[in-house]
Structures are given as structure tokens and as C-alpha cells.
Amino acid sequence: MIPNIEKLSIRRRKMLMGFSFGFGFSLIAFFLNSVSSKSVGFSNFEIIILLFAILGWIFWSYYLIRIMYYNKKIKQDPQLSASLNDEYIQYLRLKSFNIAFWIVLILQGFLYVINMFYSLSVEMVIIVNIFVAVLTAAISFIILDREQ
């Protein structure tokens, strides 16, 4: 029988994976939409992108709500909260944010260079930055948190 803390730790990891997948999925759809040519009405391709975006939205919204509910429940038990958010998890969070920071910084360099040859819209730059920042932090944490 897996103890409660272990179960909750595994559940947290799975929810983060689900959130990352849905978030990445929906933002890829937004990104494709922003680079596709704008025309009157919806082309078949745009309809498909829209469906993917909606699916992705539903997916990551569901997991975001689950994560928020999970955090709220854990806060009700201070000892459980302290165990699940122990110093090692805090260390991994800091490391993940550190990785995400450097990757986003390097990304600005890439975008700057790309912009010299191809005019980038503000919308696309914002989407790419959000995509990379959120996913890099989440995926870094998932990788660092794996059993070694």
C-alpha cells in the first residue's frame, strides 16, 4: 500500500504533466494560427487549429483547476503541506525557474536575430515567450523530480 504522501507526490507530478501537455498543445495551435495567412472566413486548416486549441484549453484548464484544488486541500494540513513542499522540492522549483530564466533570455536573442530577417508580430512574440517560459519551468521540474 502506497503511503498518502507518496501518492500525493505522484499525483502532483501527473497533474503537472497533464497541464504541460494541454498548455503546449493549445499554444502550438495559437502559434500556427498566428503564422497562417488571414483570410475571410475559416479554412479547413484553421478549423482544425481551432479545434486543437479548444481541446488543449479544456485539457490544461482541467489540470490547472485540479492543481489549485490539490494545493488548497494540502494547505489544510500543515504537516502534510510541509512534507510535500519540503526543502528538496523548493530546491527543485528554484532550479526549474533558473533554467527557464536562462532559456527565455537566450530565446530573446534568437527572436532578435529572426526579426532582422522576418518581421515578427507582437502577438507571436508574446505567445512564444509565454509558451517557452511556462513549459520550460514545468518540464524542468518534471525532469528534475523524476526518480533517479
Binding site: Q79, S83, D86, E87
Partner: protein, 70 residues
């Protein structure tokens, strides 16, 4: 120039007390994964955690964590 590494006898001391990683984790209020990473030398615990581990295992911190100079 010497290279200093931190080694630990956590696994040995835990075995002496017949505790699983999970049981030890619950006693010091951390996750089993934290105990695992400390045992494998992948994570250096804080002073507080080191003291908690020593107290729970009824040994001194110096018996639990050793500085090894190469």
C-alpha cells in the same frame, strides 16, 4: 588543491534502525524522494534536516555526514 565531497552513512544508519526510506521520511517530515536523493549523495540537506535525521537515527551529525577530501 583538494576536492571536498560530502559522503553519508544514512542508508547504513537507517538499516540499523530497521526503517524504510518512507518511514524515515515521515519521521522527519520530508518525502521519500528527498531521503533517496540524500542517500545517493545527489542532494546536500540543510542543517535543519541533517540535525533532524541525526536525532531520529540517534547518531551524531558527524557520524551521519562525513567530509571526504580527495
Amino acid at each position: 588543491m583538494t576536492n571536498t565531497k560530502l559522503k553519508n552513512t544514512l542508508k547504513v544508519q537507517r538499516a540499523k534502525k530497521d526503517l524504510t526510506q518512507q518511514q524515515l521520511a515521515e519521521l522527519v517530515c520530508v518525502t521519500r524522494k528527498t531521503i533517496n536523493t540524500v542517500e545517493k549523495g545527489r542532494y546536500v540537506p540543510s542543517t535543519v534536516l541533517a540535525l533532524k535525521l541525526a536525532k531520529t537515527l540517534e547518531v551524531t551529525v558527524e557520524e551521519l555526514f562525513i567530509l571526504h577530501e580527495e
